[in-house]
Amino acid sequence: MNLTSTDYLNILPLLLVGAGILISLTVEMYSKKSVGFLSWFSFLLHLLVAYYSLYTVNNVSSVFGGMMGTGGTVNIFYFIFNFGAAIVALLSMDYIKKAEIYFGEYYILLQSAVLGMMLMASATDLVMVFIGLELMSICFYVLAGFQRKNVRSNEASLKYFLLGSFTTGFIVYGMALIYGASGSLNIQSIFSMLSAESTPILFYVGTLLFIIGFCFKIAAFPFHMWVPDVYQGAPTSVTAMMSTIGKAAAFSALLLIMLPLIGSKNPQTFTPLFTVLSAASMIFGSIVALAQTDIKRMLAYSSIAHAGYMLIGLAAANDTGASGIVFYLAAYAFMNLGAFGIVSLIEGNGDTEGTIESYAGLSDRNPLLAGLLALFMFTLSGLPPFAGFFGKYYVFIASLEAGNVWIAVLGALSSAISAYFYLRIIVVMYFRKSDVASDNIITESHTSLLGIVISAILVIMMGLTPGSIVRLINSF
């Protein structure tokens, strides 16, 4: 075990983001008008890191004595986080003026959150997972309450913080028990040790606690209660980030724990658990979303349902499932970023007037935004030519391969239910006349529009060439 300079070269994406945070801090310290610079700086920084991590995707290695891994799936996750964060930076530029949170610290926290996510995705040691998770979560707690004078924002921050720190306790306790059972914190050695002989019950309890903690972070059913309030209360650009790349980060850690299981003797050890979680999340999310009148709450419940679809891939516990989840996460990240981007443009000043009724007649007032929102709603509901369909397709195929047919059927049923509330927004936009009361002003923002269009292009591209992306993920 020794430290070489190659280790530092291999974690260059992490170092770049870290250096970016320090530069942003310095600029914020010494300049009064730093926000404009910082927004473009973080956009370019994350774009650069996204490009670099895809460029070095083949450089698979283990660094710092098995604490972190680089290359392969890790770099694909880096790409999702950083490209997502770049789009969030674009969406935020005008939104944070409107939401009266025009501070440079917003972007510093954004970059720090991304650094935490990248640590989580690259960790091969439970302690690294924990450090990354905390770095990400603490930034999110602060960002959720960034509108200091808004009661809802404060509520969101407090709820998220209290429940989040509680579940962090679960995760740490789970890690302690796993360590007690296996005598190691390195994920690979934990599983190699356990497959040799009979597994102690302590290990199962520890893993269960660990999974419970992460189910909170990914917003799966019995641990979802924070989701609607936090997503509604937080500034919309922050919600866009939490619900997409934040969820992807939590999933990357969960996937990391479960990947060594795929090659082991009983890969389906946790299948019953994940099956129940995913079935409950899908059904609950889809049915409760039907009753929502606020678009941010509706998207929050749909986010619970999507966590359920992704858990199908984990329940399948095979390679198709793993690559399916990565594809689904990328697709979900970009389609939800686009949807929340449009919500942030239409949202009223001060109060959150995000009722679905206020979208009436949007096709007349702003046909471009209406068309883009319709596209995102189609892909969220999983209609064929877009990315959302192939995300669902791959996880369903994985569960069929694993012989878990009924959960795939349940998933298809749940998507059918969810089509109702996604398509309702399209109906409201195109077939209902707007009354004067709901005729709120749509913010003019070229940068937000750019971010939304980039997400739309990505969603269409991923829908057109899903095979090549899955082949890329599968090749590691």
Partner: protein, 147 residues
Amino acid sequence: MTEFGKILAFMILAIVFVIVGIFTAYLIRPHRPTDEKLLTYECGENAQGSPWVRFNFRFYIVALIFLIFDVEIVLLVPWVLIYQEYGILGFLTGFIFIFLLVAGMIYEWRKGDLEWDRPESEKFMANTFKLPKLTLPAKKIKEEVTN
């Protein structure tokens, strides 16, 4: 008995000891309360008001700064013990850590969190330090006693 068993026995013994003590005292002591006796004990002084006053949030910032340097010491001690095994890179890695903390420190400094008296916030400080009006049971009891 295992080592943990001994600890458990010790804990049970401690709990039983306290409960028995309090219960015996309850049985044998005289029970003659007066208003003075029921006041919160503040080293013999009369109670000055509720402890639920709003603290200036600078106390929290100072506590946070303290925490940072507290953790710094905790993390630097193991580094000092083993950095030689990792050569010059291990040595420099420790300095990266210190540099990050210094950057945070400079940030706090520049943002004025280390300055206790800032002219522009005098009004705000006056508001936060104002004690609430004494409308508490303790005050009432005191008034009754003096009357």
